[in-house]
Amino acid sequence: MKAFDYQRASSPTHAAAASAKPGARIIAGGTNLLDLMKLQVETPEHLVDINRLPLDKIEETPDGGLRVGAMVRNSDLAADPRVRQHYGVLSRALLAGASAQLRNKATTGGNLLQRTRCYYFYDVTKPCNKREPGSGCSALAGFNRIHAILGASDHCIATHPSDMAVAMRALDATVETVDANGATRDIPIATFHRLPGDTPQIETTLRAGEMITAVTLPPPPPGVQIYRKVRDRASYAFALVSVAAIVDAAGGHIRSARLAFGGLAHKPWRVPAAEQSLADSPANATTFDAASTAVLDRARGYGSNDFKIPLTRRTIHAVLTQATRA
């Protein structure tokens, strides 16, 4: 690890101010950041520890939703009775991620900000536009089994590794932030993560010196909630494809459906056209096919990840079949 100085933030505003310094990083659970620091993928000069900040509450909002503090640990969020009861897709997605040890450390805010698991991002001896802008993308013509099939660019085909964020995308969560002046901002999760474009090193719409303080969930939507994760082993692995589904159906008829995807893109992925095609439709293979086609309309494989296209189609079928089972 490169040398850094360590300081403990005394308030969210102070943390935001300290994080605005060049070379500064906020550390929460640290399970991703320290891993990257050991490999010198991340080399912060200043580490701002926010573990003592009082951002670890889960509170009910006046409109019937939940406000989750940025420092709520993934395990605590997954185990919260209100989340288990009303936001099962989120609880299930959290429990699908990492290991119990990591979930006890990892935080709500940190999970949103975790970096890609692209092998070349981790390997400092290889070109990577995300780690070293302008150096090239090794994954384009390299080993890209875990890489994106949607929304990628010639500069980067990395995926976002979070399960939690995929469920939050399906739930239309809002990310709350504070800056050094104490000004707050609400960022819809749909616009929180960015596509790589020609600046894959910029992964979110957070500004310099802006810190996540909470994630707010709207009141639970009607319907069945499912999180299905397809991966190379049954537990403790990142998603090849994951689907967070919220489907309101009865008697073989779909009233409305939301589908968010992990493992496919640089951000949690949703396709409005696919959801529109499912709305007010019979729950059958033709309907599921149409939705799959809409999701995969612009999908592109890069060789080793070509399999993700049919895998996604089959996973959509499986999830919708499960969700609409009478």
Partner: protein
Amino acid sequence: MDENEDTSFQVTRRAMLETATAAAVLTGLPPLARAAGLPDAHTPPAPVRVDLQINGHAQVLTLDPRTTLLDALREHLALTGSKKGCDHGQCGACTVLLDGRRINACLTLAVMHDGQAITTVEGLAGGGSLSPLQAAFVEHDGFQCGYCTSGQLCSATGMLNESRTGMPSYVTEDLTQAHPELTDVEIRERMSGNICRCAAYPNIVAAIRQAAGTPA
């Protein structure tokens, strides 16, 4: 912050100010651990004082802030029960309990845990007798080479606590169930953060299953 943290905070702050040069100023933030001057590859950062409760004993350490909790335990306190396997949070050999909850000691900094309580495998047995879980591992031969065992023991201890408080897992069919039953499938899923290269898994599961039936 409680009073203990306040105390250690002041001590650390004083120690730091004694060694700091004029360069270390950050407006608006407590200079808890400012290094003397800007850090670079050749100048180690100034050490910081870290107070930890390890297996019930107060320990005061002076550490490079880069020191992971695992290295603090192994290299500074000679508690070598916690093992360094991958050092990247993938194998679970370094698992310890932080305020009773299992974590990977390799993926956290000791300084982040100032004032907190850590239990390592050395602290699981009490009064000269093994914990029920340790005894079950012996009885069921829940190991072969033993390198992962301390992590398995700490992890399973934390897992049984989680289970008693009703924590669900990915394989729990009904998330709204207050206390999911600890079946073998549940045990395997909940222990997936601990790898055993010798593949002693059947016996590890058997040992945990037995301990789960033992009153805490």
